[in-house]
C-alpha cells in the first residue's frame, strides 16, 4: 500500500509500506493493506511505518489520516 506522510515543512515519508501504526485519537491503530476507507484524527505520538524488515518512526503532535483503496495519506503537525 502507498503511504504518504506530510507536514507543512515537507514530505516525511512517501512510498510503499507493509504495515503502518498511527496514534489514533483513542489509541494506536494498526493498518494493513485493504483497510476500509477511513478519515480519522490523530493525537500526539509516533507514526511507525514498516517496510519489509525496516521500521521508520516519526514523532507527531497531531494530525489526521485518510485511507482509501490502499492509499494512506497522513497530514501531521510535527513538534518544534
Amino acid at each position: 500500500m502507498q503511504v504518504s506522510l506530510a507536514s507543512q515543512n515537507g514530505v516525511l515519508f512517501s512510498g510503499n509500506a507493509d504495515f503502518v501504526v498511527v496514534p489514533q485519537y483513542n489509541g494506536p491503530l494498526g493498518i494493513l493493506p485493504n483497510h476500509e476507507p477511513l478519515l480519522t484524527t490523530l493525537k500526539q505520538g509516533e507514526v511507525r511505518i514498516v517496510v519489509g524488515e525496516t521500521e521508520q518512526k516519526f514523532g507527531i503532535s497531531s494530525g489526521f489520516l485518510s485511507i482509501y483503496r490502499n492509499e494512506i495519506e497522513v497530514a501531521v503537525d510535527v513538534p518544534h
Binding site: S7, Q8, Y25, P37, L39, T40, S66, Y68, A75
Partner: protein
C-alpha cells in the same frame, strides 16, 4: 557648467550605487529559488488536506461554523500581506491600495473592518496614519515559515469564532500578491472565511469512497478545517514572498540600468567639460601668443 572634478565625483558615487543595486538584484534572485523551495515543500500537505476535504464534501453536506456563512455579516477582518523592506518598486504600495479599496467597499456595505497586517511596511503604513491594527507580524516576509502561517491563521480563526458573537468577525479577507510567473504578479483579494469548498462534481460522488469517520464527522472536520485554512494562509504568504522577491529583483535591475545610463551621460558631460577647458586654454595661449607677436 560643473567642473571636470565635480563630474568625476558624481560618476564615482553613481558607480558605487550601481554595485549595491546589482548586489541587491542578485540577492533577490537567489531568494526566489528559496521561496519556491518553501512552496514546493508545503504542497503535499496542502494537497492531502484539500483532497480529504473535497472528497468529504462530495458525499455529505458539511455543516461547520468555519463553512456556514453568517446571516448578517456586520464585521470583517482584512489581512494585508506585503513586504518587510522596501526596494521592491510598487509592490507594497499596490497591495495597500487594493486593501484600501476593499476596506472602503466593506464599509459601504455597513461592515466594520478590522485590519491585520503582515510585513513591516504595512504595519508602519497604518500606524503612521493612526489606523488601528488588530494584529501585526513582522520579519520573514520573504521567507515565511509554516509556524508564521499557523500563528496568523490561528489568530484569524480565533477572531472568527470569538465566543462573544457580537464581537466576532463574520468574514475574513486576505489581500496578497499572487505569483503568476517571474514577470507577472497580481494583487489578489480572497475571502478566506467562511471557507468555500469547491466540490469536484466531475467525478461524481460514485467515485468517492464512503468513508468511515472516527470518532465522528464533526471531530474530523474540527481537525481538518483549521489545517486547511492554515495551509491556505501559508500558500498566500508563500505567493506573496515569491512576488516580493521578484518585484525586488526587477526594481533593482531597473535601478542598475538607470545607474548605467546616468554614468554614460555624466561621462559625456565630463568629457565635454574637459574639452571646453582645453579649448579655452588653447585660445588663451594662441591669443596671448598673437598679442606678443604683434608687439614684436
Amino acid at each position: 557648467m560643473a567642473t571636470v572634478q565635480q563630474y568625476k565625483e558624481r560618476i564615482a558615487s553613481t558607480s558605487s550605487l550601481k554595485k549595491i543595486f546589482k548586489a541587491q538584484e542578485l540577492i533577490a534572485a537567489s531568494r526566489i529559488s528559496k521561496a519556491r523551495g518553501f512552496a514546493e515543500n508545503a504542497r503535499p500537505f496542502a494537497e492531502t488536506v484539500t483532497k480529504a476535504l473535497t472528497s468529504l464534501a462530495a458525499h455529505i453536506d458539511i455543516e461547520h461554523p468555519l463553512i456556514t456563512p453568517r446571516e448578517k455579516p456586520t464585521r470583517a477582518a482584512v489581512l494585508v500581506v506585503a513586504a518587510d523592506r522596501g526596494m521592491a518598486g510598487a509592490y507594497t504600495v499596490q497591495v495597500i491600495r487594493a486593501a484600501g479599496e476593499l476596506i472602503a467597499r466593506l464599509q459601504q456595505e455597513n461592515k466594520s473592518v478590522e485590519i491585520f497586517a503582515a510585513g513591516r511596511r504595512v504595519v508602519s503604513y497604518y500606524k503612521f496614519r493612526g489606523i488601528e491594527v488588530s494584529g501585526e507580524w513582522e520579519g520573514d516576509s520573504d521567507a515565511p515559515h509554516p509556524e508564521l502561517a499557523t500563528e496568523i491563521a490561528d489568530k484569524l480563526v480565533a477572531r472568527y469564532l470569538d465566543e462573544n458573537a457580537d464581537n466576532a468577525v463574520d468574514e475574513v479577507y486576505i489581500v496578497y500578491t499572487n505569483f503568476i510567473n517571474m514577470v507577472s504578479q497580481k494583487v489578489k483579494i480572497v475571502r478566506m472565511l467562511p471557507i468555500e469548498i469547491v466540490k469536484d462534481d466531475e467525478n461524481g460522488s460514485a467515485t468517492h469512497p464512503l468513508y468511515t469517520f472516527e470518532p465522528d464527522v464533526g471531530t474530523v472536520l474540527d481537525a481538518l478545517l483549521p489545517r486547511y485554512f492554515r495551509s491556505r494562509v501559508h500558500q498566500c504568504l508563500l505567493d506573496a514572498a515569491a512576488s516580493e522577491t521578484a518585484s525586488r529583483q526587477r526594481a533593482m535591475h531597473t535601478a542598475t540600468e538607470n545607474a548605467e545610463d546616468l554614468i554614460k551621460t555624466l561621462t559625456v558631460k565630463s568629457n565635454q567639460a574637459r574639452q571646453a577647458k582645453i579649448t579655452s586654454e588653447l585660445s588663451e595661449i594662441v591669443g596671448s601668443a598673437d598679442a606678443l607677436a604683434k608687439k614684436a
